[in-house]
Symmetry: C2
Subunit: 100 residues, 2 copies
DNA sequence: TAAAAGCACTTTGTGCATCAAAGTTATATT
DNA sequence: AATATAACTTTGATGCACAAAGTGCTTTTA
């Protein structure tokens, strides 16, 4: 059986993988654009484009708010995102087990 | 700490990941070009190019031989390849654990 | 014995993705 | 008034994945 058939194309990018991982860990907290940027050590433009890919796939949700009058954008994982990410991790785990 | 800092760029391709996985499992057997092609369900040209990337990085070794007079090419993982792949799997595992 | 098929590629070409850098708009700080 | 921060968008370069077609050699089949 094809060992890579269940991997999710969207999660082949390290940055998208990292975003999902961070959002998964912090399910109950708001994670801001800047948190992600610092955690993953990426340029803001690059991060923004990966975030929009994840959003287009409905794997994450964006909350645009304010702190006072200053914009504050936070991100969270969706149900679909959780499911997709868990599926991908399961596929990776299966591959890893295969190798032990 | 950056959750994706230890991932190996070479293994972001599903096909290269699959090749390494197959070669890791079958350390003691010869794995032919055609075995890989059928296991991973890829076109031969595509497979060839990924194999050559892995070879350039010294992660796999090629054995060109014959069965009778017909060419027979097989592949195996190198020590460096094993090390790199295990490192990548460890990084993935760390990320997965982070998520449980 | 001619045609078809298999092996293991290489070449070519398209389209997409990654990424950095610079630009943008609005607010905040000094 | 000048600089900085937030959260992007735009631009542009580079590279990658992939399919398809071509290649040279051998084997099988009609």
């Amino acid at each position: 059986m094809n060992p890579i058939g269940n991997l999710n194309k969207i999660f082949e990018s390290r940055i998208r993988l990292g975003v999902m991982s961070v959002l998964m860990v912090n399910v109950n907290e708001e994670v801001s654009f800047n948190d992600l940027k610092e955690l993953l050590e990426v340029t803001d433009g690059n991060l923004a484009s990966h975030l929009s890919t994840l959003e287009e796939n409905a794997y994450i949700k964006v909350h645009k708010g304010f702190i006072g009058r200053k914009t504050n954008t936070t991100y969270s994982i969706t149900k679909a995102g959780e499911k997709a990410f868990k599926g991908h991790l399961a596929a990776l785990e299966a591959m890893i087990k295969f190798n032990q």
